[in-house]
């Protein structure tokens, strides 16, 4: 069981109350100028995008098997049992591999800071571990963003699509993408039309690197035997040749 968020693009009215609540929760500044930015960044961890007459909300997908957490060399990023993917700035050394690895291009960096951190939504881990809803779900006046258990939200999404098949594109984004995400989307149109990436593999991405990494013990053990053996043979041959030669 893990917490998730369901975002229904058809219900979103673009009021950006979620953005403002999110900025409050992180202690980030929020004004008209920042509200006009339609991109997530180090000072704006969720953003409502306008696509014609439709809206789409971007935030960290808090993947079920996050690429960012798997690639972090120091374990600063962690997938919690509760659902959120958390970040520990005290561990981070700033290699930015998480940013490179994230298929949704979510983690942002404090580029101009002298002691920079990665910033990303952590699905209000602190609030949720106290049993409270995320700041954005609490703030949403239209019910476009709701929180809950992932299974329940999947069922809810299916119910909405089944109830009004004409109003929804018949898919839920986040069920399979990158092995499944904790943020789920439903919309009236195919997802690429509301700015979501649709070329994301369904395979959990950590597997791609693990297939190489799991060979490391094999390479080390087979390699040391092989190299040691070759050294022993060639060295012995040289010794014998030297003795016989003299």
């Amino acid at each position: 069981m893990s917490k998730a968020i369901l975002y229904d693009s058809t219900l979103c009215i673009g009021c950006k109350a979620c953005e403002s609540a999110c900025a409050d929760r992180w202690g980030l500044p929020y004004n008209d100028q920042i509200a006009a930015e339609e991109e997530i960044s180090a000072h704006k961890l969720t953003a409502v995008e306008t696509h014609g007459e439709r809206y789409s909300r971007r935030m960290c997908m808090n993947c079920q098997q996050p690429a960012c957490a798997s690639v972090c060399p120091v374990g600063a990023l962690q997938k919690t049992a509760l659902g959120p993917v958390t970040y520990d700035a005290d561990k981070c050394m700033g290699c930015r591999y998480c940013m490179q690895a994230c298929p949704f291009q979510v983690p942002s960096y404090e580029w101009s800071a002298r002691l920079p951190r990665v910033r990303k939504c952590d699905m209000c881990f602190e609030r949720q571990s106290q049993g409270k809803p995320t700041a954005c779900t609490e703030a949403c006046p239209a019910g476009a963003t709701i929180g809950g258990e992932r299974d329940e939200l999947l069922a809810e999404a299916q119910k909405r699509i089944a109830a009004k098949p004409g109003e929804y594109y018949n898919k839920i984004y986040g069920v399979h993408e990158a092995g499944g995400t904790s943020v789920l989307y439903i919309a009236a149109v195919p997802f690429d039309q509301i700015g979501l990436r649709t070329n994301i593999p369904n395979e959990p991405l950590p597997e791609t690197t693990w297939r190489a990494l799991e060979l490391v013990p094999d390479v080390v053990s087979a390699g040391s035997v092989l190299l040691g053996g070759i050294w022993w043979i060639t060295n012995r041959r040289a010794e014998v040749a030297k003795k016989e030669g003299r």
Binding site: S41, A42, A67, S70, V71, C72, P73, V74, G75, A76, K91, C92, M93, G94, C95, R96, Y97, M99, Q100, A101, P103, Q105, P107, S108, Y109, E110, W111, S112, A113, R114, L115, P116, R117, R197, N199, I200, P201, L205, P206, T208, T209, W210, R211, A212, L213, V216, V219, V220, G223, S224, L227, G228, I230, W231, T234, N235, R237, A238, K242
Partner: protein, 388 residues
């Protein structure tokens, strides 16, 4: 000599200009962070400093482990004269990679974190450990040159005792490190252009590193023979050239099969920047391969050197393609390094040349040491000493 003097000052002027710009870029990096000194952004988190300073730096250092394996593990003694320069190149290469990382990491003061905070599921964790351990190994492989210079026999004996396991460890760490730089990109199947994205990235990075390691051996022998007025070890380099041709053909064969199995050849029909840069990278590997298979060309020092330079540039093109260009389309953005990124990179390369020159001048890099059996060398050295 009188002819040579102004030439040197021109190079020195360029060297000073590069270092001055690098120094100013360093000031920008320290005072204004990565934002003030690079063109990196949230969508392009890695740029020139990773793709060149780290990925090429590590690759260009591959001559160290390749020659250690050839000379000490396969016991092919004739390559010994080029071993020490290769170890020195590798050691300097790795030290400069760490310097490059200090620029690129957001928090260079936490460089040591991966040694304490483990995540064995991360390729970067493997990379961090390989850099640390192999730099240590290279230091110990380089140390005898210093110890011999000062005649410190006791520590020299200690290093000699552990030299075989040390060298095997070095080859293993290099194998892991070279291939893991390819593994880094396995996590971005949807971002890296399919001409480059392949599950074969780790072995391809490994084989191309061996190729460029051999090419660098020819490259540095050529330059040091000119800088120090030494005779070129031509017969030796000719056979290095032959091995290089074989390694290149193996690499290109793997690359061909990889494209074939992934049905990626159709991509070559598209008129895109990726296609052209891919063609450039392959051309810079294929042309020297064809040339080096001909003994007439191998025997000619100039042609041999030109082939080595082509391989080095082909290798650099490949790493820059994987590390920057190949990711641009998939990330939905463009990247071109800022002047300060280039200045730091050039400064690091220039320092590498200068350090190599300085160390080769003062330490016994080119005189092969006289280990067991090389009695004639010993007497020669004694004669030289007594003459002095």
């Amino acid at each position: 000599m009188t002819h040579k003097f102004p030439k040197i000052t021109v190079w020195r002027a360029i060297f000073v200009a590069i270092l001055t710009s690098g120094l100013y870029a360093t000031y920008l990096r320290v005072m204004y962070g990565l934002g003030g000194s690079t063109n990196l952004s949230d969508k392009v988190p890695w740029g020139l400093w990773i793709a060149f300073d780290v990925m090429c730096g590590v690759g260009l250092a591959a001559g160290g482990f390749t020659l250690v394996a050839i000379v000490h593990i396969f016991n092919i003694e004739k390559y010994k004269p080029v071993l020490r320069p290769a170890i020195l190149t590798a050691f300097l290469g790795y030290v400069l990679v760490v310097v490059g990382l200090m620029y690129d990491l957001g928090r260079p003061d936490r460089l040591w974190h991966p040694l304490v905070m483990w995540n064995p599921h991360s390729v970067m964790f493997e990379v961090a450990w390989c850099v640390t351990l192999y730099t240590t190994v290279l230091f110990l492989e380089f140390l005898p040159m210093v110890l011999e210079k000062f005649g410190w026999e006791t520590p020299l004996g200690w290093i000699h005792k552990i030299s075989v396991p040390l060298m095997i460890l070095g080859v293993l760490l290099s194998t892991l490190h070279q291939s893991s730089l390819g593994s880094l990109f396995l996590i971005v199947p949807e971002k890296l252009y399919p001409l480059w994205y392949s599950p074969m990235l780790p072995p391809m990075f490994y084989v191309s590193a061996i190729a460029v390691g051999l090419a660098m051996t020819i490259f540095e022998s050529w330059h040091s023979s000119r800088a120090f007025g030494r005779a070129l070890e031509l017969p030796l380099l000719v056979s290095v050239g032959r091995v290089l041709a074989v390694v290149l053909s193996f690499y290109l064969w793997v690359k061909f099969l990889d494209l074939l199995h992934r049905n990626a050849f159709v991509l070559l029909k598209q008129n895109r920047i990726e296609t052209w840069l891919f063609a450039l990278e392959i051309g810079l590997m294929a042309v020297p391969m064809v040339l080096l298979f001909q003994s007439r060309i191998r025997m000619c020092p100039g042609a041999l050197y030109a082939c080595a330079v082509m391989v080095v540039f082909g290798f650099i093109t490949n790493r820059l393609n994987v590390g920057t260009v190949g990711l641009a389309a998939g990330s939905g953005t463009h990247y071109f390094p800022k002047w300060s990124e280039v200045a730091v990179t050039l400064s690091i390369v220039a320092s590498g040349f200068a350090l190599f020159w300085a160390i080769a001048r003062y330490f016994p890099v080119f005189e092969a040491p006289s280990h067991a059996g090389a009695r004639s060398e010993l007497t020669e050295a004694n004669i030289a000493m007594s003459v002095r």
